[in-house]
């Protein structure tokens, strides 16, 4: 029976090649998008799960605002280094605890004797306990002693091969320059670890042990922030442990308030909610501080992908039910031969299953084809066949196959198996209205999705061009940002290069912004404002002009003592006209000399924060990694080469890293443009899927109405009238879909736009355009088939009867 059903299924597919191929291709495309999503989710889910021992590993997270880009409090991963020792002392459940330097995403210069220097990212400094907390398998070297001596380094296998070309390197030396201007330090290789088979939050290409993290700074006022990881003996009673962690953290925090001016009570009063906890490391990746987690980011994508799959399933259902009357006779006959409903449902489900299986196979091929591009787009490293969780993924695919088969096949199968043999076998049977309502509502649903996506593209396009054209408040052309701290001597030498106009430094520039808030007292008003230390030429280098007052200049001696410039937002907070006035911060008095326009230092989803700019180191300074160089000509390459020559004189072991502000700006829009590209691709797919469904369905309807068309033609209908007749039945569906999709699109787009602080008003044009477009393409699609029906010879159609 099974074999026979399979045969019939195959013969039927072959007979309806055209519809079957539309069905299968559509399903394959929908599936491919879905499976890519599935792989992505699996990949992100697999973070920090490479070893069962990781169940006992925790990330120390404290709730504070230090280092946060917007001065708000977050559960941060970068914390005061003293916590580590305190926790180890006071929490008996902790087996080991380690401190590791934040990943600066910075290239370090690594040199192996007699080989070329390489710039390597992900070299991180850790204390000697790192591998006691993080379970890594050592290919070479001894796990217990690898980091016990200062100036040792443990490499990942990839880096070892890259540097040495072989693995027999224990005891060999690597010379490292970490930051420009640093002295060369030699490290001895003490181990090679294999790359874990899942991605890791504490990513590294090599762990160095300089020894400086083994002890905390003796000076209690000096703080160092780094990542801290703890390994527990077992993971029971986490809540209880965390209560103790919080106690230890707060006690330590209290002890740092030695300053009589500002007490712990005041600290609490100003809205701080100090807290600290151990956070399971396998949850760390999905809960990053500052930015949205991957789950948040992927939500819109998964919505669209699900829609895509839905559209292809709808195509399937529509065609299957429309075609069902072809199979009615078979059902009738089988019923009188003794088949029951269950057997028939089973048979039709199997036919759907066969098609889903084909779709799945094609999907497999498509995945293989698209995975590299997908990986590259998102900077991932996902593989399908060599995936660690292949079995699990195959299981998911099988589940997906079942769900799709049921979704696509169940309704048509039920419709079919419900046919009454008496009615079907009489031969006078016609099924024009069976399932029509459902079919029509599914078409409407498809078009609602497509139209909503088209509207979304239109609006996004507008927002993107708005962002591209928005006045940033600074001039992003002809400026490069060298990642280096300001050094007077180098700055002066670079200034001497012809073509260089200004050389300045700031911590607040697009691409690399760092914020630090300080308390100020302005005419009795107490405020928390962002403080940025800049150099004299920072504003001219950014092309910023004063709105009120003046900018810093070396002719005013006072500028190196206590003058500040505010941005507009800060000025507004202080009451508007502020030039010439003074404010206090702690015991220091500052003089406001000018106000500049707000300028963007981050992407458009963040608002510009009220900021005070100062040249003086009074009240502390923020180390800046941005050396801005403005050119007065556009012959970039020559100037940059000359600057590099200057650089080499100062830092022979460390190449110059730079980025133009234009690139930094484009980079800041990258997330968005990536999202937009994806929406565009998905929209095109979804629209073409919907259209192919409509095309197939109209082909079908036209075929079925051949006789009606012939009769009408004999009665004197023109071709145009016939085309209109067929169009009309679909057109009202498309229009209904448009009307439904307007509010949906409005709500979704509003939500998307709300994510931007700087955004356009809701545009009307995309709505109108989407409607016109969808109606036109629907008419075109249907007309292709309608025309065929219309120009057919009526004699043939009638004779057939």
């Amino acid at each position: 029976m099974f074999k026979l059903n399979l045969k019939i299924a195959w013969r039927n597919l072959w007979k309806n090649k055209f519809y079957a191929s539309i069905n299968i291709t559509g399903l394959a495309i929908g599936l491919t998008a879905f499976v890519l999503l599935l792989l992505y989710v699996n990949y992100e889910e697999s973070y920090d799960t490479w070893s069962p021992e990781l169940k006992n590993v925790y990330q120390v997270r404290a709730f504070h605002s230090y280092n946060a880009p917007d001065n708000k409090q977050y559960w941060q991963t970068s914390n005061e280094s003293r916590i580590a020792a305190l926790l180890k002392q006071n929490i008996p459940q902790i087996n080991a605890i380690t401190k590791v330097e934040n990943d600066w995403y910075q290239n370090y210069a690594l040199t192996v004797k007699n080989r070329k220097s390489l710039m390597i990212k992900g070299i991180r400094n850790a204390d000697s306990a790192f591998f006691k907390v993080m379970p890594h398998s050592f290919l070479k070297g001894n796990e217990a002693t690898a980091l016990s001596k200062p100036n040792s380094i443990v490499l990942k296998k990839d880096l070892a091969l890259k540097l040495f070309g072989n693995e027999e390197i224990i005891g060999k030396t690597i010379s490292i320059v970490r930051w420009e201007g640093d002295a060369v330090t030699d490290f001895t290789v003490t181990g090679i670890v294999s790359e874990p088979n899942t991605p890791q939050s504490v990513n590294f290409s090599g762990i160095i042990h300089t020894g400086e993290f083994d002890k905390d700074n003796q000076n209690p006022t000096m703080h160092r922030y780094m990542e801290i990881y703890a390994r527990l003996f077992n993971h029971e009673n986490l809540n209880q442990i965390n209560e103790n962690v919080k106690k230890v953290y707060i006690n330590n925090l209290k002890s740092t308030f030695t300053d009589s001016q500002y007490s712990y009570a005041e600290f609490l009063k100003s809205g701080n909610l100090p807290n600290c906890k151990l956070f399971p490391i396998d949850e760390a990746h999905q809960n990053p501080p500052f930015i949205a987690s991957w789950i948040e980011k992927i939500k819109p994508v998964s919505l669209i992908v699900t829609f895509l799959l839905l559209i292809s399933i709808i195509n399937f259902i529509n065609l299957a039910t429309a075609q069902s009357f072809q199979r009615a006779k078979e059902v009738g006959v089988k019923k009188v031969l003794g088949s029951n409903k269950g057997l028939l449902v089973w048979q039709f489900l199997m036919e759907t299953g066969l098609q889903s299986l084909f779709a799945l196979l094609i999907c497999g091929v498509l995945i293989e084809l698209f995975l590299p591009a997908f990986n590259q787009q998102l900077g991932l490293n996902i593989s399908f066949w060599s995936n660690q969780k292949l079995f699990f993924i195959l299981l998911q695919l099988f589940g997906l196959f079942l769900i799709i088969t049921l979704l696509a096949g169940f309704y048509p199968a039920t419709v079919l198996s419900n046919y009454k043999p008496a009615a079907v076998l009489k031969g006078s049977f016609s099924n024009s209205h069976k399932g029509l309502v459902l079919r029509n509502s599914l078409i409407v649903l498809q078009f609602v999705i497509s139209v909503t996506l088209i509207i979304a593209i239109g609006t996004m396009q507008k927002q993107v061009s708005f962002m591209n054209q928005k006045d940033l408040g600074f001039d992003k052309s002809r400026v490069i940002n060298i990642s280096a701290n300001y050094n007077k001597k180098i700055a002066n030498d670079i200034r001497k290069v012809s073509g260089v106009q200004y050389v300045g430094a700031t911590t607040q520039v697009i691409g690399n912004t760092y914020a630090y808030a300080d308390k100020i007292n302005f005419q009795g008003k107490k405020l928390n404002l962002n403080m940025v230390t800049v150099t004299m030429e920072a504003f001219p280098a950014l092309g910023i002009k004063p709105l009120q007052g003046r900018l810093f200049s070396s002719i005013y001696r006072q500028d190196t003592i206590n003058t500040v410039v505010l941005n507009e937002s800060a000025a507004k907070q202080l009451g508007g006209v502020v030039v010439g006035k003074q404010f206090r911060s702690y015991e220091n008095v500052f003089q406001i000399i000018g106000v500049i326009k707000d300028y963007h230092a981050e992407s458009f989803d963040k608002s510009i924060i009220p900021t005070i700019y100062k040249v003086t180191y009074l009240g502390g300074m923020s180390a800046n990694g941005n050396l801005l160089v403005r050119f007065n000509s556009s012959h970039y390459q020559i100037i940059i080469r000359k600057i590099e020559e200057v650089w080499k004189k100062y830092y022979p072991n460390y190449p110059m890293n730079y980025q133009s502000l234009n690139d930094a700006f484009i980079h800041s829009l990258e997330d968005n443009s990536r999202f937009m590209n994806m929406i565009v691709i998905f929209s095109i797919i979804s629209v073409s899927l919907s259209l192919s469904g409509l095309f197939a369905l109209s082909t079908f309807v036209a075929k079925r109405r051949t006789k009606e068309v012939a009769v009408r033609k004999v009665l004197g209908a023109s071709n145009m009238q016939i085309i209109n007749l067929l169009n009309k039945s679909f057109l009202h569906l498309v229009i209904a879909a448009n009307i439904i999709s307007w509010p949906i699109a409005y709500i979704l787009i509003k939500k998307w736009l709300d994510g931007f602080v700087y955004r356009i008003d809701m545009p009307v044009l995309p709505f109108i355009m989407a409607t016109i477009t969808s109606v036109i393409i629907a008419i075109l699609t249907v007309s292709i088939q309608a025309r065929k029906a219309a120009i057919g010879d009526p004699v043939k159609a009638l004779k057939y009867e």
Binding site: K329, V333, V336, S339, K420, L425
Partner: protein
């Protein structure tokens, strides 16, 4: 074998009952070859459909093999289809996607007849109807008469005790029709299969041994055919 008592069938529309069958009471015994005749719209096919349990009467009782089947659940009905009733249709209604062999095999699969038994029965039927060479052809590759032969072979495959035929020769040329009728007669006489057919043609009715004449839903005549 079949007992109909006071069978009525009507459709109501807008409060008016349209009778298709009225007060049909009759008995059909095992081994009879009954022809139901009458003008178009008289209710012949409806009667046959009720006999075949494809439709339910609005009123009255129907006993099939001493069992009241007027309101039968689907499972019981399917049991009867599998074991006792064979259908033959005017438009043959072979399944287009199946070969001759597979069409004949289908009822045996539903009846869950074992593989060897199945093969031998189909071989018998093919042999008997001279269709061995055509067993791998699809219905659209056969002539109408040949298709109807396959239709009959299929009806016989499950070894039913009764065959219900709705204008079995309606789509055939007269020579082919004659062949089919002779076949029916032979099945009736030699194998003792009860046959009920609906037909327009007096000539076809003559092959049977009893004629029911229906007009306006009522049995007007019920007489035996005198064998010539």
């Amino acid at each position: 074998m079949i007992e109909l008592k006071n069978i009525e069938k009507y459709y109501s529309s807008k409060g008016i009952k349209h009778y298709v069958l009225r007060h049909v009471t009759t008995t059909i015994k095992q081994g009879e070859f009954v022809s139901i005749m009458g003008p178009s719209g008289a209710g012949k096919s409806t009667l046959l459909n009720i006999l075949g349990m494809l439709e339910e009467p609005t009123y009255g009782t129907y006993e099939f093999m001493e069992e009241d089947v007027t309101r039968l659940n689907e499972r019981k009905r399917i049991e009867l289809y599998r074991n006792h009733i064979g259908f033959v249709f005017q438009a043959y209604h072979l399944i287009d996607e199946m070969t001759v062999y597979e069409n004949i095999e289908a009822p045996l699969l539903y009846k869950k007849v074992g593989g060897a038994e199945r093969a031998s029965r189909i071989a018998d039927l093919l042999d008997r109807f001279n269709m061995v060479a055509k067993k791998d052809l699809f219905p659209n590759q056969l002539s109408g008469g040949q298709q109807q032969l396959v239709g009959i072979a299929r009806a016989l495959a499950a070894q039913p005790s009764i065959i219900l035929a709705d204008e079995p020769t309606g789509n055939l040329q007269s020579t082919q029709a004659e062949e089919i009728m002779q076949l029916f007669q032979k099945l009736n006489k030699e194998d003792g299969i009860t046959i009920i057919q609906v037909t327009h043609a007096e000539k076809n009715a003559q092959y049977g041994n009893r004629i029911l004449n229906i007009a306006d839903g009522v049995i007007k005549d019920d007489f035996l055919v005198t064998t010539t």
